[in-house]
């Protein structure tokens, strides 16, 4: 301790309670103890009160039979599976709608953000109107509107709209042929993998060649050809292993095939259009953040407007865009919990059902919070990694 050691220069020794460091440690200890005591008090009382009421507690219920069904299950699930499994089904549904929503919202946001800056008056004003209307109406309301628009706009199963062969659209959802993987699928998958590796190698080679000699290579078209030809060849060699199961019209609904529920469609529409409006603003801000000189320099080099955007502006704008973009992705993921209002079986919806059937509110809410927290942290971690990759590399 400083107070104990004699000061060089024979300065007056301070009493220990006047030492700022001792005081700081003391204050922190007191606050910490208060917090711990507060938490302990709450936890203790919760446990005591639940015991007094005879409420069951603990996580054993996760292994019990759930006894209810879920409309959209991407993994095997029916009423004989456990509550734990039901949680997982809900989690996958949340993840599914979040991923599709994020991709679509990004596309919509970029298009609208660029459109707002367009020199075409009509395009710019349409984008303006979209942003201003959509981001100023509560999301829950939009979801309900989308749901009832989807429901009202689609025909009954018997009057299904046929979309090409074996695809139907009606009020029960969008029905698509479902691929059935037969024997020899592995060969086909290997061919796909081979094509992907070939394209990556090609890309690297073309880049090195371009940097060395300045000669461009038509990477896009060559890659497309490889991606189509190699898997097609593999498919034929393996003896066409993949067949399709077509949806069939039954008494009440179409059975078989892949189905996208109207709840899912409404969720994706609502979430991506709502979040897209915010992303549009972020993209616009990102582009405007690039000094005008960059545009002029690009022009002076003879680059077209499209090339300028693609090669000069966007890469620099991304550095401004990515951090707020991350927040929008997180928002979209968390907002997917509003699915409970329109019967989309997301994690929050399933957790609500489980909470009610078991009565274990504290446990279920704790699990729910932990899951949303980990989902958000995962997305955050990925976006931070991407941000680091895109950041300006100081040489």
């Amino acid at each position: 301790m400083a107070a104990a050691a004699p000061r060089p220069g024979g300065g007056r020794r301070t009493v220990f309670w006047n030492d700022p460091r001792v005081r700081a440690i003391f204050a922190q200890t007191v606050v910490l103890l208060l917090v711990i005591a507060g938490v302990a008090y709450l936890v203790n009382n919760t446990i005591a009160n639940r015991e007094r009421l005879g409420v069951a507690s603990g996580f054993d219920f996760l292994r019990q039979v759930a006894g209810f069904d879920i409309s959209q299950t991407l993994i095997d699930y029916d009423r004989t599976f456990s509550y734990g499994r039901a949680f997982v089904v809900g989690l996958i549904n949340t993840f599914y709608v979040a991923v599709v929503g994020i991709v679509l919202a990004t596309v919509i946001g970029f298009l609208m953000g660029v459109a707002r800056l367009s020199s075409n008056w009509l395009v710019a004003k349409v984008a303006d109107a979209y942003v201003e209307i959509v981001r100023n109406i509560p999301l829950l309301l939009q979801l309900i509107v989308w749901y009832f628009v989807v429901l009202a706009g689609l025909p009954a199963p018997r009057e299904s709209i046929a979309l090409g062969e074996g695809a139907f659209l009606n009020i029960r959802g969008l029905f698509l042929p479902k691929p059935v993987f037969g024997e020899g699928t592995a060969i086909f998958l290997a061919a796909v993998g081979l094509a992907v590796i070939a394209v990556i190698v090609l890309g690297r080679w073309a880049r090195r060649r371009f940097e060395a000699t300045g000669q461009p290579f038509p990477v896009f078209w060559t890659a497309l050809a490889i991606l189509l030809a190699v898997p097609a060849l593999g498919y034929l060699l393996a003896g066409m292993p993949i067949s399709f199961e077509y949806p069939k019209l039954g008494k009440f609904r179409i059975s078989g095939g892949l189905v996208m529920l109207p709840e899912f469609m409404a969720m994706v529409a609502g979430l991506s259009i709502y979040t897209g409006a915010f992303i549009a603003e972020i993209v616009r801000a990102g582009i405007l953040a690039i000094p005008k000189g960059q545009w002029e320099a690009a022009q002076a080099l003879g680059l077209s407007r499209g090339q300028t955007l693609r090669l000069i502006i966007i890469p620099q704008a991304l550095r401004v865009i990515i951090p707020p973009q991350t927040s929008q992705y997180l928002n979209l993921t968390k907002n997917s919990s509003l699915g409970v209002a329109i019967a989309y079986p997301d994690f929050f919806n399933v957790a609500g059902t489980i909470n009610n059937q078991t009565g274990q509110a504290v446990e279920v809410i704790a699990i729910t919070m932990a899951v949303y927290l980990s989902l958000s942290l995962t997305i955050s971690a990925f976006m931070n990694w991407y941000n680091a990759r895109m950041a300006l590399v100081e040489r």
């Binding site: 008090y41 709450l42 009382n45 919760t46 005591a48 009160n49 639940r50 007094r52 009421l53 005879g54 409420v55 069951a56 006894g67 209810f68 069904d69 879920i70 409309s71 009423r79 309900i144 749901y147 009832f148 429901l151 009202a152 009954a156 009020i171 029960r172 039954g250 008494k251 009440f252 609904r253 059975s255 109207p262 709840e263 919990s337 509003l338 409970v340 209002a341 329109i342 019967a343 079986p345 929050f348 919806n349 609500g352 059902t353 909470n355 009610n356 059937q357 078991t358 009565g359 509110a361 504290v362 279920v364 809410i365």
Partner: protein
């Protein structure tokens, strides 16, 4: 909606913190604050609990809240209502946000035990049914293989539905809604072939449809749904008050005491049961911790069970529900009050 669940759960923790204060009987707390906080159906179930344009609540479940207030305070208006979804109701009761739950809630073993609640009676014997559009041409629930079914979350209905289809080896697609209103919207739009809930709920919801005559309730009843008031487990004095308020209404019907003749009977009746019920003889009020005229006040202000039923659900209402199981035991029904002795 979803926030309130979180709040309710958070308040379990928060109220648990002030736990020692809550540990005392609800009865004392109710007397002290001067009103009964009653949890009721928030999505509006005409006949059981619905609110009119003046903000006045009415319905069979509401009458029970009022009966308790009349018994405790001699004034049926001393009730405050907390509208709840099916999902929120138990947490609201566990956390002490409400004093009693009167929200067409099915009495089941799990709820009576593991949830820390006590059911104190049955004010409506119900069973789960199915409603379909007439145009579907379905005559029996056994023809519903492959149907998509609209159902409300957090209900016994959801589980019975799964059991029924499983037992009969049929498949179905559940479309699970949080509130009845959204469910009704989606069902009318044609999202589902079938709407399932307690039969009374089907009749009640149908009164809200644009074209009620296009829909028909199938004959099958696939479950027992005894609906009744709920209090917290271990809250015995308060549980007694709620239980005997309900019994007083049933007993009054059995002995022909109505809101019209109650004054006359109180003054002139020679029937010992009636005299005991109305507090002229005996000290039943005292035993319950209530004023001597508690049952008189219930009957005077709300009426007996039969009056309440007819007013809210009977032939002269849009619901037109017959007494059926809810008739008195003397007329072949199940409603039976324990003796006032």
């Amino acid at each position: 909606m979803r926030l309130s669940t979180v709040f309710a759960a958070a308040s379990v923790m928060a109220l648990a913190a002030g736990g020692q204060a809550l540990a005392g009987p609800t009865f004392d707390a109710v007397r002290e604050k001067g009103f009964v906080q009653c949890g009721v159906n928030g999505s509006g179930l005409p006949g059981f609990a619905s609110v009119d344009d003046k903000g006045e609540w009415s319905g069979l479940d509401i009458d029970l809240c009022k009966a308790v207030a009349a018994a405790v305070f001699g004034d049926a208006s001393k009730v405050k209502y907390t509208p709840l979804t099916a999902k929120e109701r138990f947490t609201a009761l566990q956390s002490g946000e409400i004093d009693m739950l009167s929200r067409n809630t099915t009495w089941t073993l799990t709820r009576d035990t593991a949830l820390g609640l006590d059911f104190v009676g049955v004010n409506y014997y119900d069973g789960q049914g199915f409603m379909v559009p007439k145009s579907l041409g379905v005559k029996s629930a056994l023809e519903l293989d492959g149907a998509s079914v609209c159902v409300q979350t957090g209900t016994t209905t959801e589980l019975n539905l799964a059991d029924f289809f499983r037992a009969n080896n049929m498949s179905y697609e559940p479309v699970v809604f949080e509130t009845n209103d959204e469910l009704i919207g989606a069902f009318q739009a044609g999202r589902c072939d079938v709407f399932t809930t307690d039969q009374s709920g089907l009749y009640s919801s149908r009164t809200k449809f644009e074209n009620p005559d296009d829909f028909v309730v199938l004959p099958e009843v696939i479950s027992k749904e005894p609906l009744g008031p709920v209090v917290r487990h271990g809250d015995n004095e308060w549980g007694d008050v709620v239980r005997w308020s309900l019994y007083a209404m049933i007993e009054a019907e059995e002995y022909g005491v109505t809101s019209e003749n109650v004054d006359e009977l109180k003054a002139n009746s020679t029937n010992p049961t009636v005299r005991r019920l109305l507090g002229v003889e005996g000290e039943f009020g005292k035993a319950l911790g209530l004023p001597a005229d508690w049952a008189y006040q219930i009957i005077k202000q709300i009426g007996n069970y039969g009056e309440s039923f007819e007013r809210n659900l009977g032939e002269n209402t849009p619901l037109k529900i017959k007494r059926g199981l809810n008739d008195l035991w003397t007329r072949g029904g199940l409603q039976y009050a324990m003796p006032f002795r």
